[in-house]
């Protein structure tokens, strides 16, 4: 086999596998969300379909597919159809540049090892928000419209802070490639950037909550005020797309947090910080990455069932008046540190 066919073949294989695994993870994140929320509220959660309710995502999917795909008469048809796809696709595309393992059988465990990985993720992840804004516009009724407006207000308040918060990370690493970010963090016990840049981590985490529309920043959805917000007019499979999009987005942001701050697929002992040479270690690396990602996902879910919602002027206040200055200060302090060290 010549290198080109090999590359195409293995890439296609990886894409198919990653997509399947990702969608499974997304489906089960919904299940975990329901379970965790139930446990926090002293309930037991879904436990009827299969052992411990493990077949619940399957049942939900079947239900969503079989329901009537109803389109209200007053919506703007084209945008109405477009919005769910725009929400869903970017979060799936983001995963493409995340290194989810070192190597497995000589293949690098990343779909596309871009040397501007992080710029790509930022460019793509933000697109998901447009789906929500578009859904609010397309629905042509009041609650979705409010949701869309809130979403646009939200996106301009956290997006800047989010971008600024990761700049110190790349000043330290000196590269935008996510694989080299992980390589940088593989050095020693406190190599992870969460220890070197705790402020950046905190800002990124909070912006991540806003990015994924999770509580305490779920203004576009706001069930209690907007009866579901941007997705009020949606039903059946299109609603399921929004739902999956939200969770896929969560997975994508968790993967980014793990890659940028929590050392990616590395662990600082048993030599697990080095790229794998054997098949088994390669699998272990993927396992480590998934475990870290699940931990972050669990934290996202946990926080959702604890905090009340911010008002959206409070979010803008937080974004512009607190996070942007802090992030800028962090950039300058890191620059001074690097300048003194050089």
């Amino acid at each position: 086999m010549n290198p080109t066919t090999e590359f195409i073949l293995f890439s296609a294989l990886k894409v198919v596998l990653v997509t399947i695994i990702l969608l499974t993870i997304v489906a089960y994140t919904v299940y975990v969300e329901r379970k965790v929320c139930a446990f926090i509220q002293d309930r037991v959660g879904p436990n009827r379909t299969g052992p411990f309710g493990l077949l619940q995502p399957l049942a939900d999917a079947v239900k969503a597919f079989l329901k009537e795909d109803f389109v209200p008469g007053h919506v703007r048809k084209v945008y109405f159809w477009l919005a769910p796809a725009i929400v869903m696709v970017p979060s799936l595309v983001t995963i493409a540049v995340i290194p989810f393992g070192s190597t497995l059988g000589g293949q690098q465990m990343v779909l596309a090892d871009l040397n501007i990985g992080i710029l790509f993720t930022f460019a793509i992840v933000s697109l998901g928000v447009y789906g929500i804004v578009l859904a609010g516009y397309a629905a042509n009724s009041k609650y979705p419209f409010m949701g869309g407006i809130r979403s646009s207000a939200q996106v301009i308040s956290y997006e800047v802070a989010m971008g600024l918060s990761v700049i110190p990370v790349f000043m330290l690493v000196g590269d935008l490639n996510l694989s080299s970010v992980i390589g940088y963090q593989a050095q020693g016990w406190f190599g992870w950037l969460v220890f070197k840049q705790p402020v950046a981590f905190l800002l990124f985490l909070i912006a991540g909550f806003a990015e994924t529309n999770r509580l305490p920043f779920d203004m576009p959805e706001a069930e209690q005020e907007l009866a579901g917000g941007y997705n009020v007019e949606y039903g059946s499979i299109k609603f399921a797309m929004f739902f999956l999009g939200e969770y896929a987005n969560m997975v994508a942001v968790s993967a980014m947090i793990v890659t940028l701050f929590l050392g990616g697929w590395t662990l600082p002992f048993y030599g697990l910080g080095e790229p794998a040479t054997s098949f088994l270690v390669g699998l272990a690396h993927i396992g480590i990455f998934l475990a870290k990602m699940f931990a972050v996902l669990l934290f996202f879910i946990w926080v959702r069932w604890m905090l009340p919602r911010f008002r959206y002027d409070q979010l803008m206040d937080l974004g512009w008046k607190r996070f942007v200055p802090i992030a800028l200060a962090n950039v300058i302090l890191t620059a001074i540190y690097l300048w003194l060290e050089a």
Partner: protein, 180 residues
């Protein structure tokens, strides 16, 4: 009136300690014993005097107590009860010297509001609101309970008076038993 607001301290304005204590609260609840009752398998204890579905009862000798006086049919606010009395040529009661008994007795459980007026008005203690609170059926017709079904569901009521039996004994002793 102006309520003076206390200035928040730096830590309080930072939000983060409050968030951490919130996480502690939710974590505590996560491991707490769950309060969910697995409904169809586990059921709550129905309290004494609960007003569930009204059923007809038999006395301890297995006799139908209802004498089809139709008071319950008359008093029923949603008109859920329908009684067909035997009429002058109808079949006699299933025990000697007794009043007539209903030919048909239906309660439409879709209409019944479980008010208990039927139980209250019944001069024969023949109908009681019992403990069933979840009546289900696949069709409307199934929810109209007929006499046999009501008697089966109602069970036995230990009657202390046994009015008809005593009347029968009294008539026997005076040798004026009516032709039955």
């Amino acid at each position: 009136m102006i309520v003076p607001r206390r200035k928040l301290s730096f830590l309080e304005r930072l939000y983060l300690p409050a968030i951490l204590s919130g996480l502690r609260v939710t974590l505590r609840h996560f491991f707490r014993r769950k309060v969910t009752m697995q409904y169809p398998e586990e059921r709550w204890v129905v309290p004494e005097g609960y007003r569930g579905a009204p059923y007809l009862v038999r006395d301890q000798h297995g006799d139908t107590k209802c004498v089809s006086c139709q008071l319950c049919e008359f008093v029923c606010p949603p008109r859920a009860i329908r009684i067909v009395p035997p009429g002058p040529d109808g079949p006699p009661a299933d025990r000697p010297n007794a009043e007539k008994m209903p030919k048909e007795f239906e309660i439409n459980m879709l209409r019944c509001i479980f008010c208990g007026f039927c139980q209250e008005v019944c001069p024969e203690e023949a109908i009681f609101l019992q403990q069933d609170y979840s009546l289900t059926g696949l069709a409307r017709g199934e929810m109209i309970y007929d006499k046999e079904k009501l008697l089966d569901l109602g069970g036995i009521h230990q009657d202390r008076h046994l009015k008809w039996q005593r009347k029968h004994a009294e008539a026997e002793s005076q040798k004026v038993s009516p032709p039955s």
